[in-house]
Symmetry: C2
Subunit: 362 residues, 2 copies
């Protein structure tokens, strides 16, 4: 290792448009653009995790073209100017999105790929795990960060870590799908399983080489879309037809599970993907009665509630273990512990052609 | 009795500004001006109960001056033009309000005094009870209508009916305050107790005579305020200082409990004062799962809920026995069966000087 290692290039993926945090999260304002856990948005927190100019270059951001102005505004507010802002004309999942970033980056540069909608409480632990992964990544390994599991969660894929490859890095034995509960409990007991958090470190050329081998259609579509790209300053618009021709697949399925030299860097860093209102209640600051309130809330005799308003005053009296999310045009109410059911409400709203689903916020 | 009895003059009291149905009911838009049970508002339903021109004159309406245009508009929509619209500069409870109406009416005319915010499902039964009360009222008795109790409710005053005074009219034995639960159960078992619904029939001069005797300060203030009144067409503006000088008291305390010739006409007419969200759930149309929904609601796996929105879409998933009331600027959530607790929320909002309490609806 050199005393002056090459800088790492953050790649921030902002393509998601999930509905799991409806009604706050909408197609026009997805989770990563919301301030859920801090005054800063998830995107801003992500960018600031890698804003140390001694160690990182400016980030490459891959995003939904519809969000371009929100993204630029949010990043500017925390003093981050992207090296490139690649604007996807359509969503094709993570493997093609990362391919675009890898093609734009210098071939030998190290890419730190980060979803834009995760929480990491202990950034120092994250940085330390990155440094542990740098030597292997520099040698051409594809490194994923394995999140030390806190519970037998059935909502994540798991990574089984195998033989040591050095300080705090191990070969990936295998990736496993979201397990059932007993299986997850077994993983937790074994101690060599980690959550797959979707954070990666690798050389741009190593990723493209693996992509060419295991998902050549994705690699070809990404190259074609950039050959015909339109640029406006730092904004890059890949050709819509060429990019739309790409297969839609995740980096896990398309590359990581198939490639040879794949490593995991285990890390315990207070990670959460804030994948549901229940998850937000878990990581939020709570009062003595286990309530997490945000916005204009009057709560009397309430306990165990997540009550959040970005619009109306919410008055709750004598309720417990509820999730209440209010925006200017919609209110969601459900028991805590069942927030995956929000999908059913969203399905119902889509089915009835409900106009409020994507009505812009006031 | 003549074949052509003198017409009855309805007196509609619209002075209330309760907070028991917050956040829908506000100072600027109290319960009687809301459509809670039907497409028509409580005020409109009240006026239509006595809109038979063969039997009733146009009503005298006594109301808060702040609501004048809403009242005129609502009444016009159901084809009712008040004989007089007496606009109180301040609220002084029902005894002074009724005194104003009695002073404006012909001395010998029969006044049917009705709160403007009650529901009566069986209007024929009401009309029939009125006819039963007419002869006694014509002789100068003060007649109150006694609501056949449906349950041992502790939220109402009760009237104990005594000796018969004719067909379906009895002397009032005594008025009793809101009882505790065991007492209320005893009343229900005895069968001679009725709820005091605040609906009355008497001659204008009989009321004023009793008022002069038992509450001369109220009578004097009412007279003085009308002597100096300003009139604009049918609108009557009693002098503010003179009316403000009146003691504030209810007709029950000031007159009915003290006067000699007081009768009760028992009636079973599907009456409700809709005094709480729980009461509204009770009388509302409900689906098979005991839900009463109103407005833009998506309810999945919900039961026993009152969900009402005059503004945002409300999505409820997997909740039961909740009251959810949403307006453009406030949302109330509480368990069913505890809706008297809404007062605590309103108190809290007043205490914190919360601006949204009376923010006008959009």
């Amino acid at each position: 290792m050199s005393d002056h290692p090459a800088k790492i290039s953050p790649v921030i993926l902002s393509g998601g448009s999930g509905t799991r945090l409806w009604p706050l999260s909408r197609t026009g304002r997805p989770k990563q653009l919301l301030a859920l856990t801090h005054a800063e948005t998830m995107l801003q927190l992500t960018a600031r995790r890698a804003d140390d100019a001694q160690r990182f270059t400016s980030p490459i951001v891959v995003a939904n073209a519809a969000h371009v102005s929100q993204i630029e505004t949010q990043l500017a507010k925390v003093g981050v100017e992207p090296a490139s802002l690649i604007l996807e004309p359509v969503a094709r999942n993570t493997a093609p999105a990362i391919a675009l970033a890898a093609l734009i980056a210098e071939p030998g540069s190290l890419l730190l790929v980060m979803p834009s909608d995760h929480v990491i409480a202990d950034v120092d632990a994250f940085r330390s795990a990155i440094e542990a992964a740098v030597p292997l990544a520099g040698e051409g390994w594809l490194v994923t960060f394995g999140i030390a599991p806190q519970a037998p969660d059935t909502g994540y894929g798991y990574i089984r870590a195998g033989a040591s490859l050095g300080d705090r890095v191990q070969r990936v034995d295998r990736f496993v799908e979201k397990p059932d509960r007993p299986t997850a409990e077994g993983y937790l007991a074994e101690g060599c399983y980690f959550w797959n958090g979707g954070i990666f470190l690798f050389r741009a050329d190593a990723y493209l080489q693996a992509l060419d081998m295991h998902a050549p259609g994705i690699a070809a579509a990404a190259r074609a879309s950039l050959e015909q790209a339109r640029c406006e300053g730092r904004r890059v618009f890949p050709d819509a037809d060429a990019f739309a021709a790409s297969p839609s697949d995740s980096i896990d399925y398309a590359v990581m599970e198939k490639a040879d030299r794949v490593a995991v860097a285990p890390v315990d860093m207070g990670w959460s993907d804030v994948g549901s209102w229940d998850a937000l209640h878990e990581i939020a600051m709570k009062d003595a009665a286990d309530n997490a309130h945000h916005g204009e809330i009057v709560a009397i005799d309430t306990s165990g509630c997540l009550i959040r308003s970005d619009g109306p005053l919410v008055a709750a009296v004598g309720v417990k273990d509820l999730i209440v999310i209010a925006t200017g045009d919609a209110v969601l109410i459900m028991p805590r512990g069942s927030s995956q059911e929000v999908k059913r409400a969203v399905e119902e709203l889509k089915k009835t052609g409900h106009v409020t689903l994507d009505r812009p916020s006031p």
